[in-house]
């Protein structure tokens, strides 16, 4: 993409920043943005080459939060890996649990009771709502609205986290789903509390939209910035709200028919231009669709067991083979690939993280834009570094 023919040569002298000389078109400034930059949501570095304010090259540097996630999986049992999946994308631990449980259930051929399927859908959609709310809050924070929109988003998120805590015991590290169901049953009081939270969500989205969707600053900063073309998005394997904002109709809930999503009526919001504003709008609309799914699920949830009584959670040895379980996580396609060699530990465990793969198109979106827009474009990708680096 880079049209400038760049020679990397260090300039002699102690008092000058490192520069790259170009062929008579002036000098490029190399800036290491991060790893400790407040806008990088963690520890992530972007090596930028700047021509004035304009970005001519961007190199993402990963790995500051690498924790040997996949290697650990090969040394512990299938059950003991479940709490580690909470720590991948720590904003949405319940969807991580679900994807991993799905992969192991495919591996051992385990069925899930009806009520557990409903509980999984309810928790996944609550997770999606709170993830999108906080993502929009962070995006606004990076746009310069320091604090207030983020705190409004977090006020709503707290209510959902309270629900998680009273059901699973922990606010963020839920460790709730098991192979063949869920760990504990939801009481009628919990379901009533969930209905109350869901009933209050549309008012929050309305309030958010009233202030943001038509806001002059939001429109000026977001529209036409960081455009991702649909063909590039498909070729790069981008999934989730980012892909749909580019106008590609691909939602694994509709495509893969996992769980019981066939039973619910919901639409898949699509964008037109693939810019930051479309990504923001797709997320807002997805919260609204999630509320619709939640209302249907909370109305229809049947009684019954939440755990298959025949299911073994511990000490099982799957037959040699492989399985890939994937779900539509709030950030995109989250998949777990497992190979079993007949021992109690997986032979190979691989995560397909949506955050990392969505981040691969960052340079293509940022080239030619200003440094200030890089922060926004990066924020609109919606990543969690725990999942990028694993």
């Amino acid at each position: 993409m880079n049209s400038l023919d760049v020679k990397t040569e260090r300039v002699e002298g102690w008092n000058r920043p490192p520069v790259i000389e170009t062929d008579g078109e002036g000098e490029l400034l190399e800036v290491a943005m991060g790893p400790h930059h407040p806008s990088t949501h963690g520890v992530f570095r972007m090596d930028l080459a700047l021509d004035g304010e304009r970005v001519v090259r961007l190199k993402p540097v990963f790995g500051y939060l690498h924790r040997n996630h996949e290697q650990i999986a090969e040394t512990v049992s299938y059950l003991a890996m479940m709490p580690y999946t909470d720590r991948l994308d720590y904003i949405c631990s319940l969807t991580n649990n679900w994807a991993y449980a799905l992969a192991v259930e495919k591996l051992v051929g385990q069925e899930v009771p009806e009520r557990a399927e409903y509980l999984r859908v309810i928790l996944a959609e609550l997770t999606r709502a709170q993830n999108h709310a906080s993502t929009i809050g962070f995006l606004l924070q990076e746009m310069g609205a320091s604090g207030t929109p983020l705190m409004y988003a977090f006020r709503e998120r707290e209510k959902i986290l309270d629900l998680f805590e009273s059901l699973t015991g922990s606010r963020m590290m839920c460790n709730y789903m098991r192979f063949g169901g869920c760990r504990v049953d939801a009481s009628p009081a919990w379901l009533d509390a969930a209905r109350k939270v869901v009933a209050a969500l549309p008012a929050f989205v309305d309030e958010f939209e009233r202030f943001l969707s038509g806001n002059e600053i939001v429109m000026a900063r977001c529209q036409g910035v960081g455009i991702l073309r649909p063909d590039l998005a498909v070729n790069a394997g981008v999934t989730g709200p980012m892909l749909r904002a580019s106008g590609v109709n691909y939602d694994i809930r509709k495509v893969d028919h996992y769980g019981i999503y066939d039973r619910f009526k919901f639409r898949v919001p699509l964008g037109d231009h693939g810019d930051i504003y479309d990504r923001y709008m797709v997320r807002v609309l997805e919260i609204r669709e999630s509320i619709g799914i939640l209302e249907q699920a909370l109305k229809d949830i049947p009684n019954g067991p939440v755990m298959d009584p025949k299911a073994k959670i511990r000490g099982f040895r799957p037959k040699p083979g492989e399985a890939y379980g994937r779900i539509e996580a709030p950030k995109g396609e989250l998949g777990f690939y497992l190979i079993s060699d007949g021992t109690p530990n997986p032979y190979r465990y691989r995560v397909r993280p949506p955050s990392l793969i969505n981040l691969t198109v960052l340079e293509d979106m940022c080239l030619g834009s200003n440094v200030a827009d890089v922060v926004l474009i990066f924020g609109s990708v919606d990543i969690v570094l725990g999942e990028v680096d694993r």
Binding site: L79, A80, G169
Partner: protein, 210 residues
Amino acid sequence: MLGEGILKGLAETAKNFAGSFVSKERMTTVEYPEERLPLPEASRNFPFLVYDGSDWQAGLRCVACQICEKECPPKCIYIEKSKDKKPDYVGKLQIYPTKFDIDISVCMSCQICVEVCPFEAIKMNNEFELATDNRFGGLLLDRKELAKSNEYYHQIHPTEAAEVDARLAAEKAKAEAKAKAAADAAAAKAAGAPATPTPVAKPNEGERKS
């Protein structure tokens, strides 16, 4: 109109500010050390060992089977088995842990140990103010610090504890019935009437194995 957005935003701020004096709902935070929100019953933090009765050493339910040590994802549990045996809550002779350490600076509060324990011996505490200025030994809890009474367990997780107690009582009754049947059979045998070879107790045999 110029400044319309500012006015709209400030109106919302004023609404929330004034509303916080009127309705409790709008107050989203509490002043923590003075004011505390009640923890939900399911809330969990770090594990503890349950004991019955008043003496923690005699009443410890743990039989040092080491399943939790094996399953613990970050491997923060260390157990040493005893050489001798002591009677457990049903009166059966069991080995016990001479050493049971949990390093709660490593523990990630996942409660896998609680789930895999076949003896209801380890449960989750909800105490969270555990800061200490001792960085080496302060967070390494031994079995004396980990031992908490069953009454304490009832206090923090009432419904769960009641279920556990009912399950243990049923198990104890079953074990007593089995012991009685065995004693009766032995008495009958001693009396010289080997009429019934007592296959009654068979199904319970594998019960305590996980």
